[in-house]
């Protein structure tokens, strides 16, 4: 067990997601406490004091985002749980939606109360089938139990929820793209300013939070910010769900207390590298974060500050473990194919840059690489950085330069010899 746990606190069974069992675990007590004993601003203060950071990728302070909203300024506010979990390698929110949906709903009710929200939304990706059914079932249960609707628990607070299914665009997971999609438009991200907390959904102040970030709220309100700060490190309080995939013996979703030693986590909890191979590198938090080599992570702890110091980020918690002998050129090709496919096509650098990079990689893999290709990839990455509306273009560039910086020799080898230095597979089938 990698440290203390706040979310994955119970054994998953066929009924552990139900309201009855959630209540038996102490569910909806925090909601009762919030509605009866706390003012909306107290909740925001508590969340700010907890130091909770967003779990969707940017690790921005939740409290600071919430503070922008004035709960009683007379206009409608909206709260959206971002369940459009699309970052490759990331499937942690899915665990919450499937196995603990009431934790999300309770947290959303508390958040709605804190932010003066009458209508909140869950934007769930269309490919999520079981998560959607579990969540929709939970919403039904919660309505029947009087947790949603008019005058919740006999208080003045009323709130309704809508679960909206996306149609499968990665970029709809970007908060402003998500809002556009929710409004029924093409999910083009929007230029800032104005920020979404000023003008978001239907031009009203809107908070968009990741499912995992929101799910922590119930725990924080039930146990207090001080108790939350005791978990994790001073700069990264709490736990994180990591979805581990790739060349490990025991892939899956793990809740890890922040500050836990990384190698220990991989060796003990994830069962070590598959087929007894050595570790080559890790994509720490979804493909948009820069890869870290085995040497980079040897003494690292899993915390935001440690990863930032190492030049990467915990991102969305989608950890992809890559064993020695894996072809990085093929890996980058797969990543760039993804970005090319998912670029929304709104702004110029990303629309053309992602395709350009993808075509270069395709050519290298086909044995038609040219010596200038590596410089060209750097050029495209450079001019995608900070020039686009959302982060997709930047992320494609980071993924590319992250691998190029550390494995340039493999690319040079591939271009020169027209074949991979390794077997060119990504599967890690044999022992070496």
């Amino acid at each position: 067990m990698p440290g203390r746990q706040l979310i994955m606190t119970f054994p998953v069974t066929g009924t552990s997601h139900s309201l009855v069992e959630y209540r038996a675990r102490g569910g909806y007590v925090a909601l009762d406490k919030a509605l009866r004993q706390m003012k909306p601003t107290d909740i925001t203060k508590e969340v700010t004091a907890s130091g909770l950071q967003g779990r969707g990728g940017a690790a921005f302070s939740m409290g600071r985002k919430w503070q922008v909203i004035v709960p009683d300024d007379g206009q409608p506010h909206y709260l959206i749980a971002n369940a459009d979990e699309g970052e490759p390698g990331t499937f942690k929110d899915r665990w919450i939606l499937e196995n603990n949906p009431h934790m999300l709903l309770e947290s959303m009710l508390i958040a709605s109360y804190a932010l003066g929200v009458r209508n909140c939304f869950v934007y769930i990706r269309g490919e999520f089938d079981l998560p959607y059914r579990r969540l929709a079932g939970a919403v039904e249960e919660a309505y029947a139990a009087g947790y949603f609707g008019e005058r919740i628990l006999g208080t003045e607070f009323s709130c309704d929820i809508v679960v909206y299914r996306g149609a499968g665009a990665y970029v709809a997971g970007e908060a402003s793209g998500l809002l556009a999609s929710l409004e029924g438009k093409k999910s083009y991200p929007r230029n800032r300013p104005p920020r979404l907390t000023v003008k978001g959904l239907y031009q009203r102040p809107t908070v968009v939070n990741n499912v995992e970030s929101l799910s922590n709220i119930a725990w924080i309100i039930a146990h207090g910010a001080a108790a939350f700060k005791e978990v994790g490190t001073p700069k990264s309080p709490g736990t994180r769900l990591f979805s581990v995939s790739g060349h490990v013996n025991r892939p899956g979703v793990f809740e890890v207390e922040l500050g836990y030693p990384w190698m220990k986590f991989l060796e003990e909890d994830c069962g070590g590298i598959r087929n007894g191979r050595a570790l080559k590198c890790v994509v720490p938090g979804g493909v948009s974060s820069k890869v870290l080599t085995a040497t980079d992570i040897k003494d690292l702890h899993l915390s935001h500050e440690a990863l930032w110091d190492a030049g990467s980020t915990l991102g969305s918690g989608g950890m992809i473990v890559i064993a020695e002998g894996t072809c990085m050129v093929t890996l980058l090709q797969v990543m760039l194919r993804f970005y090319h496919h998912e670029s929304c096509g709104q702004c110029t650098p990303c629309r053309h840059g992602t395709g350009w990079m993808h075509r270069i990689l395709d050519r290298i893999v086909a044995g038609q690489g040219r010596p200038e290709d590596i410089e060209r990839l750097y050029y495209i990455s450079k001019f995608n950085d900070g020039t686009t509306i959302c982060g997709l273009g930047d992320a494609a560039g980071y993924a590319c330069t992250g691998i190029l910086d550390k494995y340039r020799d493999e690319f040079e080898y591939y271009i020169e010899h027209k074949r991979s230095r390794h077997d060119g597979n990504l599967e890690c089938l044999r022992s070496s």
Partner: protein, 477 residues
């Protein structure tokens, strides 16, 4: 009034302005594709990236003004990024300027020379897409040339409100496409997207491969299609590039019509009818004076008309609402006392034509009704006195069956029509593209038009004709 600094120059800005607007208003040019003063901010072309001290690069079109901010529009970083943006835009653009109608007035072409000037860094095959896609019976779309600035979709959503265009698919294979059940062909303002398009993606079918724009010259004019009186530019062959072979009629024909931006009347838009003025002006022309259908010299016909006017006891006149201010005033001054005058509405809506809306189109399909009504009696339908023995009909749109019995007719017209031969005197007059003048629109705004072509010698300008008709009859009674 916050003060900001652009390239070190202190500028007073307004709070509601963006940095791009401030820069353009003060003569500092920042290149842009997607931004348009009349459309919402899309911020997708990224061409207007500027540097703000302490904040790095961001797009000027969406940047609010902050007092004291220091903006640089020409730093090395900005220049490098502009260059890169043009590399990205031209990556999949076919660069087929040689066969593109937009060449010569293409923003991408201009910017490429000014801000990039380098060949493409890519040698890979470009992304291909549809060419000559039929958007409507007026507009073709070349998706390969499209840079997805979305001006056209924003126009149909925000200005013409036809919602006819959208974007299909995503990434570098996204395409502008018509929206189901929202035919662009039914949008009477659709052709504005051709002008809006910064590249040659949206093409006018009328103008397709008709002329290179540098051989053409725009003459300022006024659309006579309705009483809005939108200012337009009539594009026609430059006299110095006159065609010596081929069909000489091409030298005096209208190549295309575009709006002439005019905040007081039409902003930067006109409707499709205004683009189709060739259909009005290039009908078969009447250029032969006639007496009861028999061809005569123009001067003979004028003399005859003058004698008829002199002899008439109760002459009436139907004044044209297509006459310019000058012509109407001359008629009033010279012949207003002689005739009992009525205002005649020359133009009537055609079948299927939009009658009226709240953007530009007005129900009265004549350019100068306002001036005619100011000068003459407007009773709607003319009511002729008993004993009316002469009617002067100026222009089209009058049903000759409504003439009083026994009255003689002087008919002034520009086009070949059956009525011409029925008139006692027929006088061919020049059209708007052959003379200069002014129209007064329904709001009282006066706009000028200029002559594009010389008139035929056998045709007379109405203004000169009225002066001649008012002169005392010569010689015999």
């Amino acid at each position: 009034m916050p003060e900001i600094f652009i390239n070190g120059q202190a500028i007073q800005a307004r709070d509601d302005q963006t940095v791009l607007q401030v820069a353009l208003a003060n003569g500092i040019f920042v290149p842009y594709f997607c931004w348009h003063p009349q459309l919402s901010i899309a911020g997708n072309c990224r061409m207007c990236l500027v540097e703000v001290e302490g904040r790095g690069l961001d797009i000027a079109c969406n940047m609010p003004v902050n007092a004291g901010m220091k903006v640089f529009t020409d730093s090395d970083d900005v220049k490098a990024h502009r260059k890169a943006i043009l590399q990205f835009i031209t990556l999949n653009h076919p660069v087929d300027c040689g066969i593109c109608d937009k060449a010569g007035e293409c923003t991408l072409q201009d910017y490429h020379y000014q801000y990039n000037g380098e060949a493409s860094l890519s040698r890979d095959e470009k992304v291909h897409s549809t060419k000559f896609y039929n958007l409507s019976n007026r507009i073709l779309l070349d998706n390969e040339r499209c840079i997805l600035c979305l001006r056209c979709t924003r126009f149909t959503h925000e200005v013409s409100k036809s919602m006819a265009l959208g974007v299909e698919r995503r990434g570098d294979v996204s395409n502008i496409r018509p929206v189901e059940d929202r035919p662009l062909g039914e949008d009477p303002y659709s052709d504005n997207i051709i002008d809006l398009c910064p590249v040659g993606a949206l093409l006018s079918r009328q103008f397709l491969h008709k002329a290179r724009v540098w051989y053409l010259k725009p003459t300022p004019s006024v659309c006579p299609g309705c009483e809005r009186g939108c200012t337009i530019q009539i594009w026609h062959r430059k006299p110095e590039w006159k065609l010596k072979a081929l069909d000489p009629a091409q030298n005096t024909s209208i190549a295309r019509i575009t709006p002439l931006e005019n905040p007081a009347v039409n902003g930067p838009w006109i409707c499709n009818k205004g683009r189709d003025l060739a259909r009005i002006f290039e009908r078969r022309r009447a250029d032969q004076a006639m007496l009861k259908g028999q061809p005569v010299e123009l001067s003979v016909a004028i003399d005859h008309a003058r004698r008829l006017i002199g002899a008439a006891r109760h002459p009436a006149a139907l004044v044209s609402t297509w006459g310019s201010n000058e012509e109407l005033e001359t008629f009033k001054a010279r012949l207003g006392e002689v005739f009992h005058c009525f205002v005649k509405r020359d133009g009537q809506p055609e079948e299927g034509e939009r009658i009226e809306d709240d953007l530009l189109i007005r129900a009265d399909k004549n350019p100068n009704t306002a001036k005619a009504r100011e000068l003459f009696h407007d009773s709607g339908e003319p009511t002729f006195h008993d004993g009316t023995d002469l009617v002067l009909v100026w222009g089209e749109g009058f049903d000759f069956a409504k003439l009083p019995r026994g009255a003689q007719v002087i008919f002034l017209n520009s086009y070949l029509q059956p009525e011409n031969g029925h008139a006692d005197v027929f006088l061919p007059i020049s059209i708007q593209t052959e003379r200069s003048g002014h129209y007064t629109n329904f709001q009282g705004t006066v706009s000028a038009f200029e002559a594009c072509f010389a008139k035929n010698d056998t045709v007379v300008d109405a203004e000169a004709l009225f002066v001649a008709l008012a002169a005392p009859a010569r010689g015999h009674p």
